[in-house]
Symmetry: C2
Subunit: 340 residues, 2 copies
């Protein structure tokens, strides 16, 4: 119920997901039952593997995540997440308040063993395929240990879900050399280097779209800014081209013809197209979609949730996380005076 167009797009997307897969899974729609059934009636959804669980409260985009979870015990988010926690559902997906979904995932499902901070990654298109940028904005203040964990979780996701055999993990930094960047980043370099990941060292801002790494590790401050910058490129380009064509009929005509190509080439600069991003590091499957998710995006989010639920992602994360850290750096980062 938390999405901007809920439950209209949510119901439409759920119906699409079941039609497309011939009921390969069951969808439980959680929220205001009457509204949901009204939508279902429009889709002639009889025969689809759908059920409805009533939840009368809604956490809105304006709600403070933690306060809302405490106050609205019967929100669709809390009720749905608890269904998953209790094993009545194998995955949870929502286009609602991102902070609230993240909090509910962490508080209700708990963390995977060895993970100190669950994270959200984002998908970025690159010249060599999709790339996972992690953290995408969840944890703005990070220590080296957290960056290391993001690398582990991202790598396991890229391997399990994207099927990259040995995903290349890069640390986002201001230069390629090992001693570049802040102290925290330099310490994270050591941890990643000593890990069993396919760590390719530092990658720079220009390497993201080039696809040098399958997984780009950064703190949520940098991740958020890079993602939002990238999202703004298509609009900027459009405005530039319009300006350039202004006053010339020929240029306007040519650009009109090229518009289709431009549009489809730029489409996946916008990471919303991927349907939803996973909360990594929680004991379960929790997928967060964009508030403005279209029915197609909702459908993709549900397909993604099914895919992750059928994988052994969390087992892989737990195994990788429990690998012994190199003693020296582990001590420095966990017990040192300087909190790296």
């Amino acid at each position: 119920m938390g999405g901007d167009f809920a439950p209209v797009n949510e119901v439409a997307g759920a119906v699409q997901s079941l039609r497309q897969t011939s009921n390969a899974f069951e969808v439980i729609l959680v929220g205001k039952e009457r509204e949901i059934r009204e939508q279902l009636a429009r889709h002639q959804a009889d025969g689809l593997a759908l059920s409805v669980v009533d939840a009368e409260e809604v956490i809105t985009m304006e709600d403070s995540p933690t306060a809302a979870l405490k106050q609205k015990k019967h929100s669709s988010l809390a009720v749905g997440m608890n269904l998953h926690k209790e094993g009545k559902a194998d995955a949870f997906a929502s286009a609602g308040n991102t902070g609230a979904v993240l909090s509910a995932s962490t508080l209700i499902l708990g963390r995977v063993k060895g993970v100190s901070r669950p994270t959200i990654g984002a998908f970025i298109p690159s010249e060599t395929g999709v790339c996972l940028l992690v953290d995408a904005g969840t944890n703005v203040d990070c220590r080296a240990r957290h960056l290391f964990e993001f690398g582990v979780m991202g790598s396991m996701y890229a391997k399990t879900i994207f099927k990259y055999e040995n995903p290349r993990v890069g640390l986002l930094n201001v230069g390629e050399e090992k001693l570049k960047g802040t102290e925290v980043v330099q310490e994270a370099y050591k941890l990643l280097e000593a890990s069993s990941l396919n760590f390719i060292g530092n990658v720079e801002g220009r390497d993201i779209l080039r696809g040098k790494a399958h997984v780009v590790v950064c703190d949520g401050f940098v991740g958020n800014i890079v993602l939002k910058f990238g999202e703004s490129v298509p609009a900027f380009l459009k405005s530039r081209l319009k300006q350039h064509a202004a006053g010339s009929l020929l240029r306007t005509a040519i650009l009109g013809l090229a518009r289709g190509s431009l549009k489809s080439s730029l489409r996946d600069m916008d990471y919303e197209e991927f349907g939803g991003v996973p909360v990594l590091g929680v004991n379960g499957v929790s997928i967060i979609g964009h508030g403005k998710s279209t029915p197609k995006a909702i459908k993709n989010m549900i397909l993604r949730a099914d895919e992750v639920a059928k994988s052994h992602l969390n087992k892989h994360i737990e195994d990788a996380m429990s690998l012994p850290l190199p003693v020296e750096t582990a001590l420095a980062s966990e017990h040192g005076n300087r909190k790296l």
Copy 2:
């Protein structure tokens, strides 16, 4: 002599700058005299306000900035910067090793009163005109006080050189609200808010190209990554469009026609086109160009140096920097236990 194509492009650019302005200033070429005179001979440079000062050593792109300055006392960089320091030149410009030019500027010229960290800004195109991103990569680890100084220096540059009457200064952050982001950024918000700058609050990654602010303040870690990400967009787009057109003659033809428009619309996504970026906060005028500067870029860098030398930029920076800080936050950031 430090640029990738020195002294060929340097001499060509200097000649262009004097021809274009009818000798509005004098250019002193510092470096290996024989090589420089060889180039000058090719340009029939007689009658131009040019002179040559010999300097036999060259600081290369591979040299460590501080070590090179100590070891190569007769480098073109050191000799040229000293000419400026001694008042024999009114400005200095170089397409050489960025770190070395920055170090030489700080060590030889010294800092403007009140400035604790000189900085380099970069120019970014936006929908509302050119925007100055500061710091562009010089200072990766920053406290609130440094971010505040970047705001002051950037604002004075935007006012004095870009002629924005009351430049809008924004703090790059993960959200618009005052309490977003890291502790350091939150503290910088308070300092900027209490200053006499036209501080418009936090700006997000997506606001840069939109031109919400004339001056975008961030630490050099974030600045470097955003800039390099931005620089990589044209190549990514080209590769995407090529892929999209592949196999379709019609699409290929249309995109061929649109190429000119695309190219010129994207050109200034590449900040090298601006000729050079200023070192802000040093007692003098020091402009750094890209190592691969073309003659045109060198020409623009020299014109920029002339422009800055004729302005009263450093006086403006000093005046703005000496404004009293709000006592409480100034104390917290300078003397607090937590070094913000």
